[in-house]
Symmetry: C2
Subunit: 360 residues, 2 copies
């Protein structure tokens, strides 16, 4: 599994090859790979990685030996491996990956799909491995198609000349490659609309200034970064026409968890009468919970706030409040842009009425 | 003029001795000394510093020689100096100091007072210098008395057990020594009220995490820092009872300019039904302008946003929107706490009715 180490951007574009499930889990936990859809994909491939030694033909590498915890290096004998071995491996990898980060539901959706694939009927271990590999690649391909569909559905909301504020990074780095919020912006740009994008820097980890600016510049889209606390001033100066963000989990009533600071922008949109759009695949929807209050919010380390690039910016032993996400109530969401269409003024009945969604 | 270099806090507590007007101007421009009242004091002493060579007895140092630009080191002969020399020196120092930062009106108030003092009748240059020195020390002493009065007037608004959010630094570092917003908090704490203070880190220069946390810890007050964008989440969790901030300039209708991000907190207070207090001396009021739209807002360098502690956090040549202040409309201000009393729901007629205020 090859990822770009997002913690080093924009200073360094370093690719990381992750060889183990633990490596994938570490990369998710430390935000080397981040963004709800991208976390889901990393987890699906992480499950696959755990099978690599069993996998044979579905896998780019074909070792002739594999490492057995008890017996050390052993010749690779796929025929000696049972369907049950595979299922146990999937289960164990899933459990490690599910423990990495709590908020983005795409992670659990992707793991759930891999677990289901692992339960399918198969003639032997090799065939089951192929089914699992097919599932991981299908998740990736579907996710990319979904992003293009979100961009198609969202672009009509973006008018020529619009000044759009976004938060955190909901671009290709956060997804299967095209982006959700930034995908909508990119599609509008490709269609020839002239856009001005403002990117909140997004403390504490600065995904806005580090990643969103980097992506938009690569795409040739005009972008200006600002400190998160300057957004109100931008609204007061009538310099923002719309806000568009991604999502990490959407409850069945439309309440949306996204990067800390998102709620703030939704409140500013309400105050200044501007639309607040959420662009998110249906894999972000969690029909298992009925309200945003029930979305688990990850609290991250104090060090992310009180030191920057290794330099202390607060006195020793300073306490910090550092939730990674906040919840925007559905009442503040103008529309959710999904692959199946735009849900205006989302609520429970509209979300439950989406065609093709499987409910838990 | 001795200051603590605030750009180095909290890592290093380094005192700086400023020996020239240009040195004071540089310290104000680069925020080594900052906070509206403190900038005013630095400017008053800056004017005094320009007179130091003339000043003789009013000054702690009594050089026997002074440096003349054209003639180099010359014996100190105060009797050869005219009243007009002093007035020209005051004028020239005032002009340098007035060009440092545009928003805080205390700067212009203090300079105006020094200029007026320079125009007073005096028997000779030495007496005029003494009048100017008296004025600078009076500004300092009055400002400190004013802060104690603000604390006295504001403390009754603070209830036992309150959870208070503040922004930037309106403490002793920003003022004559006791603080405005933090002075109110400190007084309530001294009176035995149990308080929880949340300090916005206040990007880009982190006066909240670097200075406010440092001051509150020294005063033994419980404090937790948060990224500016996490304030909405704190309100949504019902964890904030009130916001209290300082001010850099207040128009005659009550519109208040303060550190960028303040408007955001006022909007959150309105949204969540919490009081939004401004603590500011009357030297912060500008009766020369009728509305916040006319307050000049300083736009600071892009580098403050796109690099942190010398590390780039955005791609090269990234544009940044970086105003140092924003304007909170009077309609969002629950009360302004001044040395003369608390002005609830401030408006033009209430502000013009304040006893003892000189109107331009």
């Amino acid at each position: 599994v090859r990822i770009i180490d997002q913690t080093l951007l924009p200073v360094e574009e370093r690719m990381l090859d992750l060889a183990t499930v633990d490596g994938v889990a570490e990369a998710i936990r430390s935000l080397r790979v981040r963004g709800a859809p991208a976390i889901g994909l990393a987890a699906a491939y992480g499950v696959l990685l755990s099978l690599e030694l069993y996998l044979g033909s579905a896998c780019p590498r074909r070792p002739e030996y594999f490492f057995d915890r008890e017996e050390g290096m052993k010749p690779f004998e796929p025929d000696s491996i049972t369907i049950n071995d595979i299922r146990q491996t999937v289960q164990s990898a899933s459990s490690v990956l599910a423990g990495t980060r709590p908020t983005a539901v795409n992670l659990f959706h992707a793991i759930g799909r891999m677990e289901s694939a692992g339960k399918r009927d198969a003639a032997d271990a090799r065939e089951l491995c192929r089914l699992l590999a097919d599932e991981a690649f299908a998740i990736h391909e579907e996710e990319l198609e979904v992003e293009y569909a979100i961009a198609d559905n969202g672009s009509p909301l973006i008018e020529d000349g619009m000044r759009i504020l976004t938060h955190c990074n909901a671009g290709g780095l956060a997804t299967a490659g095209y982006g959700t919020a930034l995908g909508v912006i990119a599609r509008a740009h490709e269609e020839g609309k002239r856009l001005t994008v403002f990117a909140d820097e997004t403390r504490p980890l600065l995904q806005g200034s580090r990643l969103t600016v980097w992506e938009l510049k690569k795409r040739g889209i005009d972008v200006t970064v600002l400190c998160d606390n300057a957004a109100a001033s931008l609204f007061a100066a009538s310099a923002v026409d719309a806000v568009i963000v991604g999502a990490d989990r959407i409850a069945s009533n439309g309440d949306t968890a996204n990067k800390i600071g998102t709620l703030n922008l939704a409140i500013l949109c309400e105050k200044f009468g501007k639309p607040f759009y959420v662009a998110a695949p249906l894999s972000t929807f969690d029909y298992g919970i009925t309200s945003g209050e029930r979305i688990p919010i990850e609290e991250r380390a104090v060090g992310e706030v009180v030191s920057i690039a290794g330099h202390p910016v607060a006195p020793p032993e300073t306490k910090a409040y550092n939730p990674a996400f906040d919840v925007t109530p559905a009442s503040l969401v103008t529309a959710i842009i999904t692959e199946l269409g735009v849900i205006e003024r989302p609520d429970c009945s509209k979300l439950l009425g989406i065609k093709g969604v499987k409910h838990r």
